[in-house]
């Protein structure tokens, strides 16, 4: 399993020419080969969603995708959300509403939320709850987190 394939991952607009084994997961490539450790690994079986990133506009679980499958695709991770020192409205809302505690699941939730609201700005509160039940947070009990997402959704719609 050591034959490597040359691919290019575009992470937050920056191209990374890397060489990976076919079995290498996208999350490992983002973290280890591209050095972007903001995306976290929580379960490696596609349930917790801590590794959620946006690939060509869709939130995906980067532990369930091989790096080679993302060759040439546009990948957005938590590191690309803020504009310099100015937080993205979703990040700001998480801070304002105490939507995070330990912060480990946070990048996954941020990317899930941003991806979904960009795709479906008028998503209902109830559908938001459904979408967010696809990721796991063990600290917050979800209440403040969902409040933050709803507040940011409003803010993002306003723009």
């Amino acid at each position: 399993m050591t034959d490597k394939t040359a691919i290019t991952l575009t992470v937050n607009g920056r191209e990374h020419a890397i060489s990976v084994e076919p079995r290498r997961t996208l999350v490992d490539a983002i973290r280890e080969d591209c050095g972007q450790t903001g995306t976290h690994i929580g379960c490696e079986h596609g349930i917790c969603g801590a590794c959620t990133v946006i690939v060509d506009g869709e939130p995906v679980r980067s532990c369930l995708m091989f790096a080679v499958q993302a060759d040439g695709k546009k990948i957005r991770t938590v590191e690309g959300l803020a504009n310099g020192d100015t937080l993205h409205p979703m990040q700001q809302a998480f801070m304002d509403h105490h939507g995070l505690q330990c912060g480990f699941c946070t990048p996954g939730f941020l990317m899930l939320s941003v991806g979904v609201i960009e795709r479906e700005p008028d998503i209902s509160d109830d559908d938001l709850l459904d979408v967010h039940s696809s990721n796991l947070c063990r600290c917050t009990g979800s209440q403040h987190l969902i409040k933050a997402v709803r507040a940011a959704a409003k803010e993002m719609r306003g723009k």
């Binding site: 903001g38 917790c48 801070m95 505690q101 330990c102 912060g103 039940s133 979800s142 209440q143």
Partner: protein, 759 residues
């Protein structure tokens, strides 16, 4: 005490200092740390629950390209088993765990070998090639049936814990009636979303062994690692980065941590170990599983005359760092907020062929609050009064405070320091409009819905000593650093400690950096557990910051040619008390004048814990066709003495409630008849998501500040989880109209269907 006019931050829900890096993807969690030329460690684990380890063939793994070493017990035979951090009874010592299995395996997941390779993928490939020859032995699965023997020789009943006071036999002799219950709590654990990890390296030049990825109790772990590896404690340093959730499980010293440390010394290369989720679910501490046989002697009014409880604690395969902590707390905290004139607890601490246990948030209390509150409900049913009235008749009154329970735990005598339990119950009933709620539920039930409400009360413990030490430093740029030996597991330590420091000193809280979990920055520390940080480190911070303030004012008085008493500090500026617009100098100026630094250190010692208390109310609906239970809404009232940051306290409670709901309805480590674990992924071990977590209302109360520290602080960490199993069980009874229906947690759909079938 901090003058009240200076309470700019204490009591206010200011934003967290922790948030920004975490939101930007700039956290430093264990897996984010790497060193050049590091080797990746992969643990080979027993696939058999109980057996004699006849041999391990590592030749294929050793020959695999990219593998540097493969170890079995013989390579680490000189390392003693890991010791006890708390409640370490002597008789438990033979049950400690070696870092690799010696001649027997006792649970699926037990480390039997370890592979070091140049990358994670190779390490995992090679680990697959390790072959163990294990002769299966008779498994032990149930801690409440007859104990057996491990390895053919060691009895699985390790110890019997006895606690009590009063004349229990007379209480039962004089009883008007006796109420008896048998109750079980399932096997759950904290399951933080970050798995465990350790990154180690040895600096030969300085002779320092470093471990990164430390959590919870870095100083104790440092001392223990040094002892196990035969090194001076100063030559081992632990570094805590960001920690992705604690909940009791994370940060205890585990076999893997010791292996990673020893490997860095032995192989002279940095070692990185990050466990995967399956490993986490079968190898990191489990908790909770107990079976209780409880009886109460009552008078004709339902007043408790005495309680006797015999329980069986399933500690899994070994005694880990917590030793007897969980059963000890279970026995000691069971009486809760009620007057129990006579009490006897007998706790059988037993081992089985399951993953070894430790604590999980509200250890011993989630369990015994469920047991005690089930008992109160049963007493109410026996004497024909409602759930509220039976509690009123038994609650400890304010005139009895401080209340000496007559029991000890964690090396401290239990004295409830302050509390007005009746008042908090009244506040709860008013806030949730209990009578109207009952009406509404009755109306819905009459239309065929299975809905009900349950209430449970509890006393928590927090602020465990014996000490915490803090150093506060003011730098020439005016920034303040608080250095402490506590740890952050995501709960907001940096913000809360900065708030206390800022108010005491007279600076902006965002100017205060809190350094924690670094053993090379402060010589001792107790860490973060038992809801202790805000109380112990908070008061130590207040003491040290008070000293620093006095020092700064003394220096400034000289420079400003005033008396120190005439000066105050406002937003970091030292100025005259009377003329706020007159000349001033900054704390940074003073630090500079002192040659670059201003330092003060102090320690808070406390021999007693503080005791916050609370009430939970759950409203649930049961689908009698499927057995599914939905928690419709949830309410927690909690008296915290004094909340430093109410937003963070609420956050702690909300998160705790979700975990409590998980334990009550969803989460359970299940095993088959060979004690093969069945809950090995997040698809099997179900935790509540946003969908399963109902709207939760929190009522924070400050009626009973602690008299044991000047700010009146009590802890928040375990309030949300404590009574969740109890309140939900009671609500399910109510929804089904079957008093005492719930006798086992979690109440899975299958168990609901069984209740309905047997009704």
């Amino acid at each position: 005490m901090t003058p009240s006019h200076q309470r700019t931050y204490i009591g206010r829900s200011v934003p967290r200092l922790e948030d920004r890096p975490l939101l930007m993807g700039k956290g430093r969690f264990a897996a984010d740390i790497s060193f050049p030329d590091q080797l990746h460690m992969r643990v080979v684990r027993s696939p058999i629950a109980h057996g004699k380890l006849r041999g391990i063939d590592t030749s294929a793994a050793r020959a695999y390209p990219g593998v540097h070493a493969v170890w079995t017990f013989t390579d680490v035979a000189h390392i003693p088993p890991i010791g006890f951090r708390l409640t370490g009874l002597k008789e438990l010592e033979p049950y400690r765990q070696h870092v690799l299995a010696r001649d027997h395996v006792r649970y699926v997941g037990e480390p039997i070998a370890v592979v070091f390779a140049e990358n994670q993928y190779t390490a995992e490939d090679a680990a697959e090639l390790v072959e163990a020859d294990i002769e299966p032995r008779q498994v032990i699965i149930d801690a409440s049936s007859e104990p057996g023997f491990f390895d053919g020789t060691q009895p699985t009943e390790t110890s019997v814990l006895r606690k009590g006071y009063g004349d229990i036999d007379t209480a039962f002799r004089n009883a008007h009636a006796v109420v008896s219950l048998e109750l079980s709590i399932g096997r759950h654990t904290g399951v933080p979303i970050e798995t465990r990890g350790a990154i180690t390296r040895y600096d030969e030049q300085r002779d320092i062994l470093e471990m990164h990825g430390a959590a919870k109790v870095p100083h104790w772990n440092r001392d223990q690692i040094a002892q196990l590896l035969g090194r001076k404690r100063e030559s081992v340093q632990l570094y805590e980065g960001h920690v992705g959730g604690g909940f009791g499980i994370r940060g205890e010293l585990y076999p893997e941590d010791v292996l990673a440390c020893y490997a860095a010394l032995k192989l002279r290369m940095p070692i990185k170990w990050i466990e995967d989720r399956r490993e986490h679910l079968i190898a990191a501490n489990h908790s909770r599983q107990q079976h209780h046989k409880i009886r109460a002697a009552i008078d004709s009014q339902g007043r408790i005359l005495g309680i006797e409880n015999e329980f069986f604690h399933d500690n899994g395969a070994y005694m880990r760092t917590h030793a007897a902590t969980v059963p000890d707390l279970a026995a000691a905290m069971l009486p809760g907020p009620y007057r129990v004139p006579a009490y006897r607890a007998i706790g059988h601490i037993r081992l089985t062929n399951k993953t070894p246990c430790g604590t999980y948030r509200a250890p011993g209390r989630y369990e015994t609050t469920f047991v005690r509150e089930r008992l109160l409900d049963a007493i109410a049913a026996k004497v024909g009064v409602d759930a509220i009235e039976i509690r009123r008749r038994n609650l400890i009154g304010t005139q009895a405070m401080p209340y000496r329970l007559g029991l000890e735990t964690l090396g401290t005598e239990i004295i409830y320091d302050s509390g007005d339990y009746v008042r908090l119950l009244d506040k709860t009933l008013a806030a949730i409009k209990w009578n109207a709620l009952q009406e509404e539920l009755r109306a819905r039930r009459s239309k065929g819905e299975n809905v009900g409400a349950g209430l449970a009360m509890f006393v928590e413990k927090s602020g465990l000593g014996p000490f915490d030490k803090v150093r506060v430093e003011a730098a020439p740029d005016g920034s303040i650093e608080v250095i402490t030996g506590v740890a952050s597991i995501g709960q907001g330590v940096e913000t809360v400690i900065a708030q206390i420091c800022a108010d005491t000193l007279g600076v902006d809280y965002t100017q205060v950096r809190v350094t924690h979990g670094q053993t090379d920055r402060i010589d001792k520390g107790m860490g973060a557990f038992a809801s202790r940080v805000t109380v112990m480190c908070g008061e130590a911070t207040r003491l040290a910051a008070t000293k620093l303030r006095e020092k700064a004012l003394t220096v400034a008085a000289e420079l400003m040619q005033k008396n120190a008493e005439q000066l105050t500090i406002v937003r970091g500026q030292i100025m005259s008390n009377s003329e706020r617009h007159g000349p001033s100098m900054s704390l940074g100026d003073v630090a500079r004048a002192r040659g670059g630094g201003l330092v003060a250190e102090d320690q808070f010692d406390s021999a007693h814990m503080v005791y916050p208390y609370g009430v939970h109310v759950a409203v649930v609906g049961v689908d009698t066709a499927t057995g599914a239970i939905q928690v419709e809404k949830y309410f927690v009232a909690y008296d915290i003495g004094k909340a430093v940051n109410p937003m963070l306290v609420e956050g702690q409670i909300l998160g705790g409630v979700a975990q409590g709901i998980g334990g009550a309805l969803l989460e359970e480590f299940l095993y088959d008849e060979n004690v093969e674990p069945l809950s090995v992924s997040f698809a099997d071990y179900l935790m509540p998501t946003a969908r399963e977590t109902p709207p939760i209302t929190v009522l924070l109360s400050e009626d009973a500040p602690s008299p044991l520290n000047p700010l009146g602080l009590k802890g928040a960490g375990e309030a949300g989880v404590n009574a969740a199993g109890a309140a939900i069980a009671s609500a399910i009874d109510d929804a089904l109209g079957i008093p005492g229906a719930v006798r086992q947690l979690p109440v899975s759909p299958q168990r609901v269907m069984a209740i309905l079938k047997n009704r």
